[in-house]
Amino acid sequence: MTDMVRTGFRPSRIAIYGVLLLACLVYLIPLIVMLITSFKTPMDIRSGNLLAMPTDWTTIGWTKAWSEACTGVQCEGVKGYFWNSFKMTVPAVMISTLLGAFNGYVLSKWKFKGSDLLFGMLLFGCFVPFQVVLLPMAATLGKLGMANTTAGLVLVHVIYGVAFTTLFFRNYYVAIPDALVKAARLDGAGFFTIFFRILLPMSTPIFMVSLIWQFTQIWNDFLFGVVFASGDSQPITVALNNLVNTSTGVKEYNVDMAAAMIAALPTLVVYIVAGKYFIRGLTAGSVKG
């Protein structure tokens, strides 16, 4: 698809660049607004406008968001919830990715009667609106004594994430020739040896995709957080929403924006560092899903 347009300064080319740059601006402005506002004083916010630079750069919004702002009844900032999100995300990402890797391995290289059915079940599971499982899940977590705990959230994210991770790994392993597994079997390798010695060393890209996809999904989740967690165990997204919607006192938009930045930073960093894998995950999860 290259060599379609002869390069050179033709009007159409200038128009194309114009549209592309305008779009860049549109996509960037909310981030810029968020950043500028977070460094303003409340006074500044009232006197200036969205895109006006702060007259006094201050980090008061950030410190307040981190450790003082009210998220409902408590006024301890979002720091606790930020760590909650980590405590929930890291194990859930690890477990769901590991399970997905093994499942994908079996569903592509060790098919058995019924394995296609399982795959179909998982595929469909990627599309189910979570609203149909919320209530029974809440009841189950209650029975298990895991309601309002980080462990409960980890479990939930593993269950509803494993369909995606399995899909990633299955599609990746399907593309690896079966002959490799056959050769290894003739060489005397068993189920786990083949996985750990042959396939795993080839799986770095798809592990990255799965880890990043799951990290973004789980970190950004709000629905499960708001339904299955309360008070101390809530993740950052729920805390942010509470903070923004807390109506006591004067609205401090700089604090709101700083809190939003805090909630956004981990996934943004991941996106900037490993965007290649993020895009691959998005396309793999949708085109093939």
């Binding site: 996509y27 209530l135 942010l240 929403n241 709101d256 924006m257």
Partner: protein, 308 residues
Amino acid sequence: MEHTQRRPAGVARASSGLMDGLQRWLPKLVVAPTFLLVGIGIYGYMLWTGVLSFTNSSFLPSYNFVGLEQYAKLMESERWIVASWNLAIFGGLFIGICLLIGVVLAIFLDQRIRQEGAIRTIYLYPMALSMIVTGTVWRWILNPRLGLEKLMHDWGWTSFSFDWLVNSDFAIYTIVMAAVWQASGFVMALFLAGLRGVDSSIIRAARVDGASLPVIYWKIILPSLRPVFFSSVMVLAHIAIKSFDLVMAMTAGGPGYSTDLPAVFMYAHTFTRGQMGLGSASAMLMLGAILALLVPYLYSELREKRHD
């Protein structure tokens, strides 16, 4: 003969019946936990919710079956009707605008653009954000007094007025804006990947035949991206039907219930208003909506694969 028979010493022949038996069961054993988790966590619970939707459960699940009463109530509920209409408006606009923007940006980006990688990164970063973050920012940008309106006033357009966020007739469109901002870059990425996969010899052939660039795109390239188009619609529709976070962060369904979506309705009735039966019925209808989209899609996908 010499070659085959001189077996080196020390080569042990591992051959234990027990181990082989275990090996044969290993694949099934390994997927068993997932099978169990997904079987219960998705399919079992789906059924459970289905059962609850036929009961008059309120604050706690009960098993007094009332037939289709909850569904009938839902159909009569003005709030549900508003939520459904909102989904239609939101979904239609969201999908339509995202596709339009995504396709245009993808085609433009495919013209050997300098700094393409950087531009792509900028278009796509909103997808990495939580919808709560997106909602928080847009809520601030669209703030009726201090947001966009003040910016325009400062820039000299003093008559500019923009209060959609708090206007119950227009608030749903602000949700569309934020959602399009978040997801259109993703559609762009899908189409760009699709464009890169188009066989360039077809394009060269069309150029030899004398077709102009716009004609080539319109008649040859875009039609060949039909699968990308369908999967984009699937994903966007899926986001639309499930979108809950964005509404909660921007309007929490308000003003009144003018920006309710089925997902918000379901959450409110099930978890805050103590009408589990009604909430379950609404969840089942959401599932039905997804199925109505998904079944034809999967059917055509599978059929295509069989034709390969």
